[in-house]
């Protein structure tokens, strides 16, 4: 034990002395520019090559590159930039430009560009559409690196000439499609707004007119109907419910003649597939070309950088033609520099030049902040139409209403901002009054119950030891848990809007609990969410406890062989990181390729209905959770004295009677703490919902915790509203634990 202690102390000491990862920069006169990105593979290598070349070419600036997992990138930027610990520049898709500009994450670069020598005319360097993508309210926010848009890939062995019109496309596709053999003429992600958008533009639709969303127009409905003919169950040319990775496999196996995908698809195609690329077709009905959404990736300038001029200089250098050439050659990027496409080897490359032509036939994704609000509602409209839950018109009307709701909420934020007062004064006032009242109540109590108060202080003095023992834990918990907790609680009384908070009292709570915006059966309604969450928690617990206990009872059998092996294998779900197994489970429920439909001979689209989608989450979480219950039950069973069973046997009790009257009653106290903890964990189980059903259909299987997350990050940054949700979750669980505490104490009569 002492050796162990010494080791622990030594370890802690080395950790404190651990040199900070940053090298000492002070004596160096070089300016360090920090560049963050989330590229990987070839794109990452190409970017690093350009940075290395740049660092070698001059002495005054050194660029430091950091690659961050895509999943954590945006949240890391949101945490770091406001505190000045972020990058100087970073690479991101342009669709966040407007959002980040108003939320003070990025700043315009025009004024710095003017101060630099030799910045050639940007309009002649970059394609105008990519520049347009980076312009928000007439100011330029970055320099483009690449553009990405969908185009039509085709297998040359199966298709001689790519289609020019949608009618041709359908005829070609029909020729190849054999549904029974899983062969399809055309494959793309039908249910995704991003992949559907080309048809909308092809029929002449728009998303916004000024600040207003226009999603229920005739063009939108026609696009939906067009999509519907593609997946027509009687004569489909496109499979529904296909995900990205399945498209890759189908194309590589020669089971998909045409695929609509983007430049990222290039690196996934097997070398032995002979393929070509063509523009998306002209829609025969309208005579207009289907236009995909154009995304530009760009260097953006952090709002809090200390060295904006040097940072813009780096941006300018890394987007110049020589750097673009490296990125094109090494990273196979479709770069935004015009000059690259004049080079003979690029000109003759059918793939690259087609992407360039497609770009000219694409619509830059609107970069206004409210663009982010239409993705999820539109995905829902698509799902409803695909699954025949709704007509195109009805689905679009619903989508339009949802988006209008979000925009109204944004306008409320704007109104608060226009008022100019953030209400912090009122907030402090209210808090002071609250604390004052509390203090008065405490003093009054102390005076009235004098004896009790005296005893209280005496107890404290006598147990000073105990406080010493818990002090380190309380301090670290205070720091890491309670301070953030208090912060989050106070957020619930505010409205976040464009990087500022406005005090609005208990409005968030009223909006949630009285559900003004969303009446009961609505998926966003609080009480509906509560019902789903309770159903989720209860069903999970019942199943995991039952399965865990049953397995424990079997594995307890002393004469059974290979117990150790079973036990070891059955614990595996607990040991493997759940973020990968959850993804595998999602794959297992796939309608076409999933093992579950296959084994049971079903053909269910699991995420089309609330009930079945709920089951997918349930299966995954039970799989993750039963090993814990099994281990707990094993331990509890071992502690039951065997003479009890022997006595029962002598008395002639059956197996069932033994279980009912000995095992169960003695297990209860052992299982209870685990069950309470497990309830709390399941209630707040975010990962499974987020990764498996993803809330489908339309948020119907989201539980309270994932709902809070969506309000914070997917529906217009309503942090206050999300915080209020979190507090309500907290109170529900608190109440639950109090009640169970009482109940168990009551039934056992042996409370401590």
């Amino acid at each position: 034990m002492t050796r162990f202690l010494r080791f622990a102390v030594a370890l802690l000491v080395t950790l404190f002395a651990w040199p900070s990862a940053q090298a000492d920069e002070s004596q160096n006169s070089q300016v360090i520019i920090r560049l963050w990105h989330s590229y990987r593979d070839a794109e990452k290598a190409a970017l690093e090559a350009t940075v290395e070349a740049y660092n070698k070419s001059q002495k005054e600036i050194a660029v430091e590159v950091l690659s961050i997992p895509n999943e954590a990138f945006a949240s890391k930027l949101d945490s770091a930039i406001p505190h000045g610990t972020g990058p100087d520049i970073f690479i991101f898709a342009h669709d966040r430009v407007g959002d980040w500009a108003v939320n003070k994450r990025i700043q315009p670069i025009d004024s710095y560009l003017k101060q630099l020598d030799g910045v050639t005319d940007l309009d002649s360097r970059f394609f105008p559409k990519t520049m347009e993508a980076l312009t928000f309210e007439n100011e330029l926010y970055g320099l483009p690196t690449t553009f990405k848009s969908l185009a039509l890939f085709y297998n040359k062995k199966l298709i001689d000439n790519p289609p020019e019109t949608s009618a041709e496309m359908i005829t070609l596709a029909k020729k190849f499609t054999k549904n029974a053999e899983n062969r399809f003429g055309l494959v793309y992600e039908v249910g995704k707004f991003y992949s559907h958008a080309p048809w909308i533009f092809g029929f002449g639709g728009e998303f916004f007119e000024g600040h207003k969303a226009v999603l229920n127009t005739k063009a939108h409905a026609e696009a939906l109907r067009f999509m519907k003919t593609l997946i027509d169950p009687a004569d489909p040319v496109v499979p529904k419910g296909i995900q990205g990775y399945q498209i890759t496999s189908l194309f590589n196996e020669g089971k998909a003649a045409m695929v609509i995908s983007g430049p990222w698809f290039l690196s996934e195609i097997n070398k032995n597939v002979d393929y070509g690329l063509a523009l998306l077709p002209v829609i025969s009905e309208s005579g207009k070309r289907a236009q995909p959404l154009l995304g530009a990736e760009a260097f953006l300038l952090s709002k809090t950088t200390q060295k904006p001029l040097a940072a813009v200089k780096v941006m300018n250098a890394l987007t110049s033609d020589w750097a673009a050439q490296i990125r094109q050659e090494k990273g196979h990027q479709t770069v935004a520099n015009k000059a690259i496409y004049e080079r003979p080897e690029v000109k003759n490359d059918q793939i690259v030049s087609t992407f360039m032509h497609q770009m000219e036939n694409a619509v830059p994704m609107p970069n206004i902040p409210i663009m982010g609000l239409i993705w999820a509602p539109y995905d829902l409209a698509l799902a409803e139409v695909i699954n025949d839950k709704s007509t195109p018109e009805a689905a679009l009307n619903k989508c339009q209403r949802t988006v209008e709701h979000y925009i109204i909420a944004q306008d409320e934020g704007q109104a608060l901002k226009d008022k100019g007062d953030n209400g912090i004064g009122t907030f402090i006032c209210h808090i002071a009054i609250l604390f004052g009242l509390l203090l008065i109540a405490l003093i009054a109590y102390a005076i009235v119950r004098k004896e009790k108060t005296k005893k209280f202080f005496k107890d404290i003095r006598e147990n000073i030891f105990a406080y010493g023992y818990i002090a380190p834990t309380v301090i670290s918990m205070g720091l890491v848990v309670f301070i953030p907790f208090v912060y989050a609680i106070s957020l619930a009384f505010f409205r976040y809007f464009q990087n500022d908070y406005y005090y609005i009292g208990i409005k968030n709570f009223i909006d949630i609990l009285f559900s003004g915006e969303y009446p009961f059966p609505d998926n966003y309604n609080f009480y509906y969410k509560l019902l789903i969450t309770i159903a989720w928690t209860v069903s999970n617990l019942v199943i995991t406890v039952a399965v865990g206990l049953a397995l424990a009872l079997i594995l307890k059998e002393p004469l059974l062989k290979f117990k150790g092996i079973y036990r070891v294998l059955l614990i595996i779900p607990w040991a493997v990181p759940s973020y990968i197994t959850a993804i595998i489970w999602r794959g297992m429920f796939d309608q076409r390729y999933g093992v579950i439909n296959h084994i049971f001979g079903l053909n269910i689209d699991w995420w089309a209905n609330t009930g079945t989608a709920f089951l997918t989450n349930l299966a995954t979480n039970c799989w993750l959770g039963f090993p814990f219950m099994m281990v707990v039950s094993l331990g509890a069973l071992q502690s039951i004295p065997s003479d009890l069973y022997e006595a029962a046997k002598v008395d002639g009790a059956s197996k069932w009677q033994q279980f009912r009257h000995i095992t169960l009653p003695l297990l209860k106290p052992a299982l209870f703490p685990s069950i309470i903890l497990s309830t709390v964990w399941t209630f707040n189980q975010f990962n499974v919902i987020y990764l498996v059903s993803k809330g489908a259909p339309g948020g119907a299987t989201d539980i309270l915790i994932s709902e809070a997350y969506r309000w914070a990050f997917e529906r217009g940054n309503r942090y206050g509203y999300a915080a209020a949700y979190s507090i309500i979750i907290f109170f529900i669980l608190f109440l639950y634990s109090q009640v169970t505490n009482r109940v168990t104490k009551g039934t056992e009569g042996s409370g401590r």
């Binding site: 370890l11 670290s476 990181p577």
Partner: protein, 301 residues
């Protein structure tokens, strides 16, 4: 006896089926990891069809050039600083980071949880019940809302980009479960043992350290495992607090295979298996303790 045998055969058949279902998703991960393409194998068959170690090799041997400053002294004794590129074994660094962070998290978690749990178990003091409740209560507040304040605190403490920052956060988040579990275990240890020692003149601390601790090894093993896993599997905080590829932990490396548009399935699966190995090894090593350490506390007999 014969009847018994037949029964056991059925039990085995059931267990084999159930185990197969249980490890099915994991087999799928193995299959993808052993494949040669980065595609997702769409077949229903979960068994490996190829046996290529390419993905494992590439994950294990990842490297990166970093700049190292070197001071060179010439004949006249003048010092010049030069920076030169040095190739470092990235996976090795990240494995090291993960090990240090997780082990330190586990040790710190044990240290903090033990002392607190002991106090909760042995003393009756004002705030005891409320304090214990407060620990449980922290599990009830969704973590997503705490990210930004947590970042501010770590930044103010100067612990950004340092392992200690991660260790502090991880060990604290794992405390509540550990305290509850350990307290239950301490409750089963008869108080008389300690009282006797105190009469013999041992200090409170000595009683705790030399009598109580050795008796609760199983519970300590569980606590170790839980805190270790908290540090071992987490990636969002690690990716947010650390700003250097050489200071990332393994789960962050793993997440880097998931791009915005596409996923590098082969490497992701291989990486996930590599990352799971130490945890599985720990599970197997601590198996016996796990069974008694998790529950013995709660059964007071």
């Amino acid at each position: 006896m014969n009847k018994q045998k037949v029964k056991f055969i059925f039990v085995h058949i059931f267990l084999i089926c159930f185990t197969f279902i249980t490890i099915f998703p994991v087999l799928k991960v193995v299959q993808i990891a052993l494949g040669t393409s980065n595609n997702f194998n769409l077949s229903v068959n979960p068994f490996p069809t190829e046996f290529s170690l390419k993905n494992f090799k590439e994950v294990l041997t990842s490297s990166k050039n970093i700049k190292v400053e070197k001071v060179i002294t010439n004949d006249k004794g003048e010092e010049t600083k030069i920076t030169e590129d040095k190739e470092v074994w990235l996976f090795g660094r990240q494995l090291f980071n993960s090990l240090v962070v997780s082990i330190a998290t586990a040790l710190m978690g044990i240290l903090l949880a033990c002392t607190a749990a002991y106090a909760f178990s042995r003393f009756k003091f004002p705030g005891q019940r409320a304090g214990l409740m407060a620990f449980l209560v922290t599990q009830m507040f969704p973590g997503t809302m705490m990210m930004i304040p947590l970042y501010i605190i770590i930044e103010k403490l100067g612990l950004l980009d340092q392992m200690l920052g991660l260790i502090l956060v991880y060990s604290t988040t794992s405390i509540p479960f550990c305290v509850w579990n350990l307290k239950g275990y301490f409750d089963t240890i008869p108080k008389e043992l300690e009282e006797a020692a105190i009469i013999d003149g041992a200090s409170h601390f000595r009683v705790f350290w030399q009598i109580v601790m050795p008796l609760c090894k199983p519970a300590l093993a569980v606590t170790f495992l839980f805190s270790f896993m908290t540090g071992w599997n987490e990636f969002i905080l690690a990716a947010t607090f650390m700003s250097n590829e050489t200071s990332y932990t393994l789960p962050v490396m793993l997440q880097q295979f998931i791009g915005e548009y596409s996923v590098d399935w082969g490497h992701f699966a291989a990486g996930a298996l590599i990352v799971s190995i130490p945890v599985m090894a720990l599970f197997f090593a601590l198996q016996r303790n796990l069974v008694s350490g998790l529950t013995a506390g709660a059964v007071k007999g």
